[in-house]
Symmetry: C2
Subunit: 435 residues, 2 copies
Amino acid sequence: MGNDFLADFHHVATFGATENNGVERQAATAEDKLSRDWFAKFTREQGWELQTDAIGNMFALNELVPGAPYILLGSHLDSQPLGGRFDGAYGVIAGLHAAKNISEQLGQNSEQPKFNIGVVNWFNEEGGRFAPSIMGSSVFAGLMDREQMLQVQDLAGTTVSQALEAIGYLGTDAGPDVAGYAEIHIEQGRILEREGISLGAVDYSWYTQKLDVEVLGEQSHTGATAMADRHDALVAASKVILKVHDVVNRFEPESIVSSVGRMTLEPNSPIVVARRVHLVADLRAEKKQTVIEARQVLLEQIAQIAEEHEIRILVNDFDIREIQYYPEDGLELIEKVGAELGVSVRRIRTMAGHDSVAMNRIAPTVMMFIPSVDGVSHCEREFSTDDDMLTGLEALSTVGYRMVCGALSPDASNADDGDLLRDEALRSTTVSMVR
Amino acid sequence: MGNDFLADFHHVATFGATENNGVERQAATAEDKLSRDWFAKFTREQGWELQTDAIGNMFALNELVPGAPYILLGSHLDSQPLGGRFDGAYGVIAGLHAAKNISEQLGQNSEQPKFNIGVVNWFNEEGGRFAPSIMGSSVFAGLMDREQMLQVQDLAGTTVSQALEAIGYLGTDAGPDVAGYAEIHIEQGRILEREGISLGAVDYSWYTQKLDVEVLGEQSHTGATAMADRHDALVAASKVILKVHDVVNRFEPESIVSSVGRMTLEPNSPIVVARRVHLVADLRAEKKQTVIEARQVLLEQIAQIAEEHEIRILVNDFDIREIQYYPEDGLELIEKVGAELGVSVRRIRTMAGHDSVAMNRIAPTVMMFIPSVDGVSHCEREFSTDDDMLTGLEALSTVGYRMVCGALSPDASNADDGDLLRDEALRSTTVSMVR
């Protein structure tokens, strides 16, 4: 079983393979289609039913109990530009092999399944081509509007709808009723590696939010305009970027991360001082209060920068994601399975978003991590060992088996802490600093 | 005469007019075509010959002395994106009206012209769409290769050749033999305004060079990757931008300007730490030695930034333009004409590049400035008064008249100081900082 999984994993890594062992397989591209065709072929070979819904999510369904809802295993086969071959793909391929194992094991045992077993390849988890990320699972979970998402455009003006249609994966199926969801993923950090632990049981997701920052200076000549007469949007924006980077130093190490990953400037001419810079800052922390404090510090610093340069800087909160707790009985199930298999387990938070965060809102959900070498991800150097992948596959197979047999309570808690720390003022505030 | 000029000037400003009184009329666009069609129509109405050469330069030629070379007046009708309506256009339209005045005056006077009179609209002075700038006049002067320039692409992949063909201005004419060149332009700085002087006699151009800077970090996840594990190309690039901005503070005020106007980052995703930033720094100073010192300081600071972030930063010198002196007898001619007309004149350097800098290499050249309100340029707010434009037109008409009658020595000095301060090490050096 392990060899079949590894052969499939390394085969899928050839779809969109890059020179330095990574993959470039963004959502609804020709490379994404190759991985989807492979998913469909695997499904047909097992004799399972293939469904594709109207946002491009693909479901491989094995009906064991006629009419019963499904336990879904899965993740996503799309990647970041010049991304790694493990992020997402590992969870889908391990999910397919775990579902195969579970189906075979049920055929051999006398135990009666309570639910059916299925595997999902979610559309556009990465969000690199079409924003926002975690799109397919969020639409499925009713957290995003399908019609709205189908109209989202990439930078070339192609819509989600057109791109899915073009690769033949804009389906019409409804997808299954879901009784539970299990996802396995690489950690993308270095906690498991540092502690020599094989499996992470994800207990909650970090609080995350983004700041949309628009710096409005004045266009001028890079040669003729005196330095004192300029209102250089790029110089001011550079200061904002450094403040966003440095704000984490006010807090406990590893309790918050911050970054600016997207930025455009206008007119972007070598001999013109920029009039406008648009950038997105990403803040994520273990505690919501940390993000709120960091944001407040940044707003004050940004106001100072605006004053210093006599320019306007507009700041807008968006993409706010509350802390999500995974159900306690799911965590205990992972720990129990780990003990049985002789696999070391620790509870771990996720700083990254995942499809499981969306699914956790509508069904009992478990999320597991395997170690990432050097903790790097979203890059070609991303790596996890075959051994760690196989250990994870074994854990997923066993956890999935128990879930199919009804191990998780259907009303497992998945409350967020939004009610405890509700801060309505943080939602979609526009902070306008007028010079 | 003044009213005709003003009517024409404000009419041309309607081609590509923007909401805030600027123009967007980049080289070889549909808007540029409108201004070119107008130039052609003006030429035909005077009964002059129209020539268009194979890099899109347009010449309006009035032959007064059969077979003699031409005194050319002119500038450029193309603009920056969201640029001002004075930069370039003023010089072309004033040139046309001055040539008309000169032709009429010669018809009335007994004085015999030595040369013919013509007006030129140079292709792509701005360089915003097709780099490098000052393209048409540099090709005409033999400083750039025409075939190479015709293959330059804009960001959409359209070549200069295709763009000129598309608007019908890829000509086959040779253009005139040139005995002298005169250009009038807005100052784009605030020296004339500050001192209350009407006319600048440009004595030399500043030393300018650019630095191509490539910052090579490592792509990673904005959420999952610990701050300590990142090699964020954008954070390092932001520090470079601030160093470029601050380096001028080491020198006398207004003796050097610096800026970063162009910058791109990859992959430019909101949830990915940037792996690569490419930017262009522009350094310009009164003295070559100032740029050499500033560059040396920057190279040391950039090496420190690379070390601090454990990334590579590659720096490459390009677009080096030596100081160009305008001929002394041209400066004296402007001063003499100013005295006769009762117009205040001062000598002034140009920090910006101009078509006259290229023409100064092949023919006796004079360059004049009129005041810019608030010293701003390359933006919609760029402004000069009708009175100042009319004063400039009168000066250009008189200077041009004298040049047509042979006022300037054909071997007027136009040496650069390159031989005095030659620094071969500065040319196209690649500075590689390996982590």
